[in-house]
Homo-oligomer: 170 residues x 2
DNA sequence: TATTGTTGTAACTAATACAGTTACAACGAA
DNA sequence: TTCGTTGTAACTGTATTAGTTACAACAATA
């Protein structure tokens, strides 16, 4: 499974606008030919970037422009704008073993050697709360979310300006 | 877009085996009822974990056992076993703008203000190499790969033993 | 040996997501 | 008014996935 290519296309769009915007009208057709994707796809992504206030697009007139400064615009901004992950969860966790905690807890794992009869796989909770009922499940989600955070933190460190400088140095 | 739920199911499987394996025959049916997914899905994932030498599964007899010690078995091992990402790329990068570098480079972005006529979007390359031809594209991929690495490093830090200890402390 | 419970796997379905595409109304400038 | 462009809806084809049914292979055991 892979993450949508919207993200990498969006970054390519932003970089192209940042680099060429001042000397070239960056229409969806132009960007499409640069990046080799369909113009409608470009417009769809530009719409998302616009909605996130990262770029402005001139309807009728044509062309897109950066709103957010390249020195503060990070890959994380773009990542959020194109909704790479939904519900803030990169890892598509499976459903909770039980939507509502079963009373007898007969099928839930228990900790080996534990004196307690407390079931590891659940906690007392009311089903109205959005909270998870399974300890194991919760523990897994916490660690997966940490990993996602590490990825996002890496994206936050990369500004468009930094990338342009790297490209200039080639 | 989300990553396959195989990963979180696989982690749940491993944790359940690690915690209950010594006192309970962990058949695919048992695991399925614990985790609330289909037994065939469990068997498919167990097959991947077995292939990666993380667990052993007893055909006929029934039951699965950890091969790799919980203290050295990390979430990254499981992540690799279930092939969360293919071709080591989490981010589904769009295709190279051109499979083969065009001679005139007419549609490629050039750096603003650069004296050089060198095209940013490509480098001289032969199309037989698997190497990328587009500087911008390469630069994007490098940064996305760094982000992926950060996520994977986070997974490497989490052992199954650590998770079991966390669960015991509840 | 026959039975039983289980694994391994193939085949199919339904759901979901996505990029590509066509079409067209709305928009702004000349 | 014309022209180039954006914004968006609608549809297609492709790909992946979980769920499901079915069944052969396997091992223990009665």
């Amino acid at each position: 499974m892979k993450i949508s290519s919207r993200f990498s296309i969006a970054v390519h769009i932003v970089l192209t606008i940042a680099i060429l915007g001042s000397k070239q009208k960056t229409t969806s057709d132009f960007l499409a030919s640069c990046i080799s994707v369909n113009p409608v796809v470009i417009r769809r992504i530009l719409g998302q970037l616009k909605k996130a206030d990262l770029v402005d697009v001139k309807a009728g007139e044509g062309g897109a422009f950066l709103i957010k400064n390249a020195s503060t615009l990070t890959l994380f901004d773009i990542y959020q704008a194109v909704e790479v992950v939904e519900d803030i969860s990169l890892f598509n966790s499976h459903k909770q073993p039980e939507l509502k905690c079963p009373v007898d807890c007969s099928s839930c794992p228990r900790l080996t050697g534990s004196e307690s009869e407390e079931c590891l796989a659940q906690e007392s909770c009311d089903d109205s709360s959005g909270e998870s009922c399974c300890y194991i499940h919760n523990n897994i989600e916490n660690h997966l979310f940490s990993a996602q955070k590490a990825m996002e933190d890496s994206l936050k460190e990369t500004t468009i300006q930094k990338m342009i400088l790297e490209l200039s140095a080639l």
